[in-house]
Symmetry: C2
Subunit: 342 residues, 2 copies
Amino acid sequence: MNRTELSELGEFGLIEHIASRVKLVNTSTIKGIGDDAAVIDNRHALTLVSTDLLVENIHFDLTYTPLKHLGYKAAVVNFSDIYAMNGVPKQITVGIAVSNRFSVEAVEELYSGLRLACENYHVDLVGGDTTSSPGGLFISLTVIGEANSDEVVYRSGAKENDLICVSGDLGAAYAGLLILEREKEVFKTNPDFQPDLAGNDYILERQLKPEAKKNINQALKKNEIKPTAMIDISDGLASEIQHICKQSDKGCRIYDDKLPIDQQTISAVLDFGIDPSTCALNGGEDYELLFTVGIGDFEKVKRIPEVHIIGHITAPGEGLFLITGKGEQVPIVSQGWDGLKK
Amino acid sequence: MNRTELSELGEFGLIEHIASRVKLVNTSTIKGIGDDAAVIDNRHALTLVSTDLLVENIHFDLTYTPLKHLGYKAAVVNFSDIYAMNGVPKQITVGIAVSNRFSVEAVEELYSGLRLACENYHVDLVGGDTTSSPGGLFISLTVIGEANSDEVVYRSGAKENDLICVSGDLGAAYAGLLILEREKEVFKTNPDFQPDLAGNDYILERQLKPEAKKNINQALKKNEIKPTAMIDISDGLASEIQHICKQSDKGCRIYDDKLPIDQQTISAVLDFGIDPSTCALNGGEDYELLFTVGIGDFEKVKRIPEVHIIGHITAPGEGLFLITGKGEQVPIVSQGWDGLKK
């Protein structure tokens, strides 16, 4: 593979290189890359904005993360924040700081993943920034979405007796990470060793190439359900339900035996001596949607195959508890991701 | 001064700490910090979005940049991009990646500068991200602005015979940087030496605490002038006029003796053996507005005290030239900032 130094292209050359490969698809995108700002027409809807910062060796490890996957994941994870507001992502800006160990081809790999995510989710890449970094790769993403004003769902709207629902299954991305970290350690000791990833396709894909749950919002809308509160699961279920309960000023009960966990996740984490429920509660990076619906929507929400009812909201002051199979009440304590404590 | 470790507060503690000090002032800000995305109501206007990434030791040097000034400058520089579209900045999101050599108090200093800029420019801080960095400080900013659809000015609209105008004066920020870099070198050799900054207040302020030119847009509007093309000067006049000419498919003539340069800038750069015009053309970080207006607006634009007419747009293929005092034509070549070549 060719190696073109970034300094050969320079910043403007790189921007042109990136811009020439970007196609705009949304009618709300009036102007994309190439001016002082992107121009967006959201005059029929509200504008949603969310920003993420991804740092090498904090959020990702390039030893086992292909750059294309990294780009795809970085974008999708950001789209997930917009779905968690019950909105639709429409535009994204991407800033990258790269050291000179990266070539133009490496940057192109990263952008090919970003572009693929944009294509799959019908999002326009409309701007950003490219600069050098004294060390490591930094990626900043800002996603712009839209929602009608009567559609936006905040974290703060959960009511007593509301049902707590979650999409898909939990803990898989963390299980995938455990496998990748194990194989990395083996590789360090013996670089000739081939990584043993067989039988773990699902959990590896959940870690390396997650998807945002756009079909959940669509299914809810189709079934005429508007969640009372919603958040996406990036730091783990335990951490996210705390956000909903805190901002809604409520308590909750979540039932251990209702937690949706894939069989591959269970096998993998048991191998590491980790309890599957702990993994589902604290693993993080699921990018599933956690939401609450009124008790009156019980029959309707039951009809959506990918959604699981895992508990209910209680009165303020009643605390946050996990109810085990034996009926014990265990306080929900977040052990999830903390970007400043790692 | 107290030192509180970031790990004591954790990410959510730090976010609460930041959020508790933020006041929202714009009616278009429906929801700020604290959910999966900020919610903005721009339904009477278009939305403008611009992103910047600032990297320690690439874009700023903490040896001589106080964190409060850095926060102020980071925000203002971003606002400048929105003014350059003839819009008004309304919201900002801020992502920071900090290593553990920074304390909570240091982060607070940075945010106090960001907040002051937001206050002075009536912008709401509506979200962001905080995480750790294995080394160095990274700041990503995304500013959201608004403009009526008939007000937006792109880089691409310059017409033949249009007047080329620039606000304020040029080269001052670069002159300030030269002084700061000189004193840093002296300090390295002799740490007891007091920096000699006397008589350079104006150029140091232009480097450390620049302002965005919001009054220019207002003055243009008041005088019923709509620029045909506009850009803000971050990489230097030479680089920016190339953007306008390239995107408008035109040439230009700029007159050396019309370049506005402050006396303090001239004295300082001559001390370093640098030609003041070269500094004005390539210094960068001026955050002045460079724009073109129709020849019919000559009388009106002349009335705005802070605006200088420095040249005119020529036909496509006629090239980009600086006309010296002796009438010589020198091709304009950008030697400005390149984020990937430094």
